[in-house]
Structures are given as C-alpha cells and as structure tokens.
C-alpha cells in the first residue's frame, strides 16, 4: 500500500466505523463496543440491552434522561425496597422540607449513589460515592446521630455501614427495637431447626397419584434408557403423578394417546415447560442473578425496520441491510463462564437454567441445594462449606439421623423457602437473601442462632470466607448500645 493511501485509509475506515456505530445507536446493531465502562455485577448480564435502563428518547435533556434512568431503577427495585422496609425511601426525600439535603446528597435519585459503567469508583453494593456518605445528612442539625447517642460520639462515618450496624436501605434486622427485642439470644438454639425448610421438606404428595416405573408412557426409544426411567420413577415428579408426556409433549392433554405423544415428543424440553407448572419458582428465578436474562422488564431487541421508518428510510433500505442492523439477541441464560464470581473452569459452558441444578429426570432438590451450586461456584466460601458445621448437620439430616430442617445447605441461606398464600415455595431469587448479608438474619440465622452471634458472624469477613467454621472474631456492639439507650430511657418510644 502506498504511504499516501495510509491516512486516507485510516480516515475512511474510522468514518465507516463511525457510520456503523451511529447506525447501531440510532437504528439497531451490536453496541457492546460502545459501552463506556464495565457494568456492575448486578447488571452486566443485561448490559447490551441498553434500552432496559436508558429509556429516554435520543437527545433528551440531561435532566430528563436522568429522570428516565431513575424511573427504570425504581421499576425493577421498588418491590424489593418496599419488602425491605426501606429506611430511606424516595417519598421521604421528595418532601420539600428535605430540600436542604438535596444539594448534599440527592436521595430522590438512585443515581446519586449508584452510577453504572464506572467500575473505578464502584464500591461494595455498587455504591459509587465514598462510603462515609452518611455524613451528608447525619452530621449536623437534628439529624446529627452524635447528638443524642453518646456511644456514637467517637465514631467516624465510614463505619456506619461497614461495621455491621446499619445499611442504607435494609435495616430489618438492625433497627433499635429489633436489637433490644432479640438481645441476649444464645449463640446456638437448644433445638436448631430452620422452620420453613422443615415445613417445606414435610410436604408429601398424595400416594394415590404416585406413578411407578411401569406407568411411564413414552416412545420406545425414550424408555430404552433405563437410567432415565429409574431416575424419573424415584423423583418427585413420579410421586406427584407427572408422567413423561407432561414435559416431553407438554402441549398435549394429560390423557393423550401414546401415538399422539410419540408425534409431539421432544427429547429435551426447554425451561419454559418447567415454568408452565412451577410458576412461583420461575418468577423468582428470573429476578435473581441465575435467571435475570429472563426478567420480564428486560428491553426487547429494537426493530430496525421501525427505526428506519422513523427517520424516513422505511422501505428504502433493502431487507438484507435491515436484517443486518438487527440487535444481537441477548442470550436466554447466563453461562458460568460469563459470571463475575469465581467459577470452576470446567463449568464455563454450563447454562444457568432449571435442568442444570435440578437433573431433569431425578429432580433431586437435595442435589440442587448444594452439589449443583458447588459444581459451578468456586470461591472460598463455597469450598469451605464442605468442612463446615452446617455441612455436617446436612449430612446428618440426609442420613435420617436428624429431623428435617436441621441441616443447612447453600439453599437454606441463599434460596430459603418462603410462604406465599400459605404455600411454601423455594425463593429462586438468590439475591433476595444475599446482600447486605444482614438480610439473612431474620429469614435464616435467627431460627438457630441468637441475634448477637448472627450479627458478629456476618460482620466477620474471614469467618464468612471459612463458611462459619469457628467463632466470630468481630463483635458488633449495636445490641449493647441499644440496650443501654433503652435502659437509660433516651430512646424514642417509636424506635
């Protein structure tokens, strides 16, 4: 190539690139190269579905764009904040009397503290302001926490959220009344049982509905695999009267004849088939990290034809180019290889869907509660589990030497059963009970441990990484302080 051509080639190539990216931004196409920075762990799975968060129209004013962005945050997170009895709800700060605080830290906007695509300033909990942010409002005036709390006089504001005492949003297990009420609990209850797990395990299918191995209705080729048949016969599905066709020919009526089943048979039923029967589980699964690519609020790929029409090019651009401008579809599920947490290298290809944890025929919930997790996750907390007292308790329970609910699996803490309409189901949104880790206190820890021991354990990062093998080396003083304040009569009666 002639040296004189080089600058022209560079200019032409980059201008072509610019046109391509301008088209990708305004009409359709892959925009991953335009990401200005790594997204947080919470959102990286959906980062190429830009319109999920960026809902403002093109060239909207900065204020409008920010409002739209915050509206999207609330659409997805409002429900969980409500459930967490958010200590700093937006409505509190919309009051004009709070205007003085808006300039310090505008708590009406999620983006005041959580800015995406800024990995260099993202801290724990995707917070992008300095962790002593409480100082903005609680260091002066009637909101000064040191004013009526002598215990807080010498504390610095960077310890508010890092010492196991407070969270900005979720303080369900940390508020003063709760601390006082649960003060003095033993490190370990005399008969430690996780009540909801015990209730969940105790469910039984009606014996009359149960199917035996010989009841399986499937094409000859399918039943030729004895292992699959054995697994099914010993599974909850068989116990609940769920025959092969219910999954492999899900569109058919329950009593469809074998010939018709053979015609409609599919060897590997998709996750949607599971979701057809397990709606609550599927719903919560899509809210957590494992299934968030199926979240109902994710933006659908843009329609390039519509976008072209909008700019007056409808019908002008050939179909082939229009198709070329289509957004790349977001993969239906994340793989372990895409995850940000440490994962086993041999699991990189593994797709996070129902069948990955619940073997399709065995539907083994015990395996799904521990071994399935450890087959992908490869961090110190997971590895240490198998040497922990929680694991030993689980082994004892599985061996039948202890009652249901006495063992502690990964799912016990991270996907605990929940009660909805008097029905116990497993919450498949692992995030619901994960961070900040004090979220687990009420739903799990307190069933077996006292509040003080729980808070100390959860605040001890080393103990967490050892999966609670040992005793906490950290002590959270909040219970003592709350008791002292209650005894001195300084505490407000409404807590």
């Amino acid at each position: 190539m002639s040296p004189k051509v080089v600058p022209w080639a560079v200019v032409a190539a980059t201008l072509l690139g610019a046109v391509w990216f301008a088209a990708a931004m305004t009409i359709g196409g892959d925009r991953s190269a335009l990401l200005i920075g790594e997204t947080t762990d919470a959102h990286h799975q959906l980062e190429i579905a830009c319109e999920t968060c960026h809902t403002a129209p093109a060239f909207a004013s900065a204020a409008r764009a920010e409002k739209a962005l915050n509206r999207t945050c609330r659409k997805c997170h409002d429900e969980e904040l409500k459930a967490a009895d958010d200590s700093h709800p937006r409505k509190k700060f919309r009051n004009p009397r709070m205007a003085a605080y808006w300039k310090k830290l505008d708590a009406r906007l999620c983006t005041s503290c959580h800015v995406e695509h800024r990995p260099e300033i993202a801290r724990v909990g995707a917070v992008t302001v300095a962790m002593d942010f409480c100082v903005a409002c609680h260091s002066e005036g009637d909101q000064d926490v040191r004013w009526d709390r002598p215990s807080h006089a010498d504390l610095t504001f960077d310890t508010c959220a890092s010492a196991g005492c407070h969270n900005y949003h979720d303080n369900r297990a940390l508020y003063e009344d709760f601390l006082v009420e649960h003060a003095g609990g033993p490190a370990l209850a005399p008969s430690p049982v996780h009540a909801l797990t015990a209730r969940h395990r105790a469910r039984e299918s009606p014996a009359e509905a149960a199917l035996a191995r010989s009841d399986a209705v499937a094409p000859a080729a399918a039943v030729a695999d004895p292992a699959a048949l054995d697994h099914w016969a010993g599974s909850g599905h068989a116990a609940a009267g769920v025959n092969c066709a219910a999954c492999h020919a899900a569109d058919l009526a329950k009593d469809a004849p074998p010939a018709e089943i053979e015609i409609h048979w599919i060897d590997a039923p998709p996750a949607e088939v599971c979701e057809g029967c397990h709606k609550p589980q599927a719903k919560t699964f899509a809210l957590g990290r494992h299934g968030m690519r199926g979240h109902p609020r994710l933006a659908k790929p843009r329609d390039p034809g519509r976008a072209l029409k909008k700019v007056g090019l409808g019908g002008v651009v050939p179909e082939s180019i229009t198709a070329w401008l289509a957004d790349p579809p977001l993969p239906a599920r994340i793989t372990a290889g895409e995850a940000r947490l440490p994962m086993r290298p041999d699991a990189a290809h593994r797709v996070s869907d129902c069948g990955t944890c619940h073997r399709p025929h065995a539907v083994d919930t015990a395996r799904a509660a521990v071994e399935a997790c450890a087959s992908c996750h490869d961090d110190s907390h997971t590895r240490a589990y198998f040497a922990s007292p929680h694991y030993r308790l689980r082994e004892t329970e599985l061996a039948g030497r202890a009652p249901p609910g006495t063992g502690v699996s990964c799912a016990t803490c991270h996907m605990p059963p929940t009660v909805r309409r008097r029905k116990v189901t497993t919450n498949h949104n692992q995030n619901d009970n994960l961070r900040p880790n004090e979220k687990m206190v009420r739903t799990v820890c307190l069933d077996c441990h006292g509040l003080g021991f729980s808070l100390d354990s959860l605040a001890d990062a080393v103990l967490v990484s050892r999966n609670f093998s040992g005793t906490p080396a950290v002590h959270v003083e909040s219970i003592e302080w709350a008791l002292r304040r209650a005894e001195s009569g300084e505490r407000d009666t409404d807590g």
Binding site: A33, A58, E120
Partner: protein
C-alpha cells in the same frame, strides 16, 4: 537569459532530488533568503551598509520585481535601521513572498517544475522537482571549486556564506568530511575578493545573516525543545503513572467534580475539542502558509505545541488519564498517540542541532516520519469523537 539571483541560487541548492526542500531550519532558511536579496541589491549597487545603518545609495529599480519590492521597502526607511534589523524584518515579513517569487522565477526559467500534491486535502504538499539540472550542477561545481584551493569569484564567496548560514554543506556533500571545510570557509570570509564598493556591505550582511540565523535558531529550537519535552513528559505521565485514586471521603472535591460531574465533563470535553481543532487549524494554516505573514511561522508552531500541552492538561481534567473501555479506549489511545508523536516530533526538531553535533545524520527524515505518525494518529480522531459525543447525547 539573465543571471540567477542569490535568492534563486540558494533555493536551487536547498531543493532535493524529489523536489522537496532539504531539512534546513526555517529560521536559517528565512534569514538566508533575506540575506540573499540584500546581497543581490548590494551587488546591483543599490544599497550600502556600515555597522550602524543600511543605506539606499540608488533607488532606481533593478528590473527584477523581487529585488525591486525589497528595494522600495528599504528606500522608504533607509538610514533608520541597521543590517541586522533588516535581515530580521525581511526574514519575518518577506521570506515567504521572496521564496514564492524566486520559485516562480525558476519555474518560468524552465529549471523547476511545480507539482501540487495533496495529503488529506488540507495538507497540500507542493514539490518543485528539477527538470533542467544544468544550473544546479553549475552552482554545485562552483561551490566545490571555491572550497578547493581555486581563486573564488566574489559572488561565490557570498554564496558560500549563505550556504554556511543554512548549514546545508553536509547535505550538499554527503560523502565529504564537511568539518574540514571550516578553515577554508573562514579564510574566504576574510578575503577581500569582492569589489571595494560592496565588500563591506556583503561582509556585514554575511555576518548578520549567520549571527541572526543562529541566534533565532537557538532561541526557537530551545523553546521548541523545552515545550515539546514538557508535553512529552506530561503524556508519558499519562501512560506510566497509576490512576490517581479519589479521596474516600464524602463531599465535593475538585477531582470528583472534574471527572464525574456532568457539567464539568461537558465543559472540559468541549474545551478539549476546541483546543484540538485550534491545533489542527494552526497546523494546516502553517503548512499552507496562511499565517506566516501575520506573525511568522515560529510563533505559530510554538503556539501549536503550547496547545498540545494544554490538551494534555484538559485531557487530565476530562478523564483523569483513565483510558475507559471499548470505544473510549480507542479514542483515548489515538489522542495520546497524537500528543506523544507531536511532542516527539517537536523535541526531535528542536533537538536537531544537538543531534547533528552528536553525529546523527538524516535527522530530517526522522523528523518527517514523526510528523507523519502525528498526522496518522490524528486521522481517526474526528470519527471517534463523533461516536463519543453521540454516545453521550444518546445514552
């Protein structure tokens, strides 16, 4: 055909085989042109000099438009300024016109051919390849004879002085030990070979041209070197130093505001864009000789480098020297490459005399390569900036 003027002869000597000009420092080149035209006027018995003043002794036009224009200018202010001042004035104000006039004359005489070649439209390069090398060879032969032990012609002595001022002897005689010519050149300067009437004038012009050229060269190159080194060090800091951490204390901080406040970012972004456009505009204007008549090209070149340094500072304010991700990394990469290559080119040009003293030859080729790299690094910036600005306003 009339005899070639000194201005034309020196231009012929400065042209290389490709029709480009030898890498003569511009200040020396301009001073040589100014000296050449004064010598032409002296040999034509139109001006005389003494240590205090340069005087017009005969204002009658010579018939050569190039000389007559300068003569008219000198006549208008004769007696009020000395030779050194006139060399300075003519080199600053008239060098570009003298050069164009002399080249046009050489084209008209059929010695050179004008070829206008474009580089990315704005960066036009005009070449003057030789189509009749007879005159050029004759001048070269004259110089070679003078540098040997032959008795020189007064015009050749004057020409040697100009060649010496331009420091192009190493380029004219690449195979010879040029240092060995030093005593001979010094002797020629002392010889009273020029007619009595003009001897003093030519000698004064020679001294002034050499002195002025070297003084201006030293000033300009020193400044160029210092500014370029500052720019280069600042860019190196962006590449080598770890990202500056933000204070982990809540509250308004200057760096936080600069790097993360939308309004500040917008201001610094547009300022950076403005500085970039200004720098590019100056480069184009200097290259196309649009601004040389306003303040001379040295000032503009130094200003171009100063804009580069300002770009580094504003880039720090805009990005904190973080390269970002994806498209932003590419934009930052090319921006830093443009700044670094520009600083290196400036430092190389500024450091040319030192490099030559150290025995480095063909510095011009290296300088041109660095300027080429600078231009290549700038090429993708407009497109990347368009995408960058679009991402900001669309998302």
């Amino acid at each position: 055909m009339p005899m070639l003027t000194f201005t034309e002869e020196i231009l012929l000597l400065l042209g290389d085989e490709e029709g480009m000009f030898l890498p003569v420092e511009e200040h020396a080149f301009e001073c040589a042109l100014a000296g050449a035209v004064l010598m032409d006027l002296a040999f034509a018995y139109r001006i005389d000099t003494d240590p205090e003043a340069l005087l017009t002794i005969d204002p009658t036009p010579t018939g050569n438009p190039m000389l007559d224009r300068v003569l008219e200018k000198i006549a208008a202010r004769a007696g009020t300024t000395d030779t050194r001042t006139w060399v300075g004035v003519l080199s600053r104000e008239d060098a570009a016109i003298l050069r164009e006039q002399a080249l046009a004359s050489l084209v008209e005489r059929g010695i050179l051919e004008k070829r206008d070649e474009r580089f990315l439209w704005a960066f036009g390069t005009v070449r003057y390849p030789t189509i009749d090398d007879g005159a050029e060879r004759a001048i070269g032969a004259r110089i070679e004879e003078v540098l040997s032990d032959d008795i020189p012609h007064p015009r050749d002595v004057a020409l040697i002085s100009l060649v010496d001022a331009c420091e192009i002897l190493p380029d004219l005689f690449p195979d010879r030990d040029v240092a060995s010519f030093g005593p001979r050149i010094a002797l020629l300067r002392r010889m009273d070979l020029i007619g009595r009437e003009v001897a003093g004038t030519i000698a004064e012009i020679q001294r002034t041209v050499v002195r002025e050229a070297r003084a201006r060269a030293a000033r300009f190159q020193k400044l160029l070197l210092i500014l370029s080194a500052c720019g280069g060090l600042a860019v190196a800091a962006t590449l080598l130093s770890p990202p500056i951490p933000l204070a982990d204390r809540f509250g308004p901080g200057l760096l936080e505001s600069l790097w993360y406040d939308r309004v500040w970012k917008q201001w610094s972004g547009y300022l950076l864009l403005g500085l970039g456009i200004a720098g590019l505009g100056i480069a184009v204007a200097v290259k196309k000789r649009l601004v040389a008549r306003i303040a001379g090209s040295h000032g503009w070149r130094l200003f171009h480098i100063a804009l580069g340094i300002a770009c580094v500072l504003v880039l720090f304010a805009h990005t904190g020297f973080r390269f970002g991700a994806n498209m932003n990394t590419a934009l930052m990469g090319f921006f830093v490459a443009a700044l670094l290559s520009g600083a290196l080119a400036g430092a190389a040009i500024g450091g040319t005399p030192r490099l030559r003293k150290m025995g480095v030859r063909r510095t011009g080729r290296h300088n041109r390569a660095l300027i080429g790299l600078h231009a290549i690094a700038i090429c993708p910036l407009p497109a990347l900036l368009i995408v960058h600005v679009l991402t900001v306003y669309l998302y």
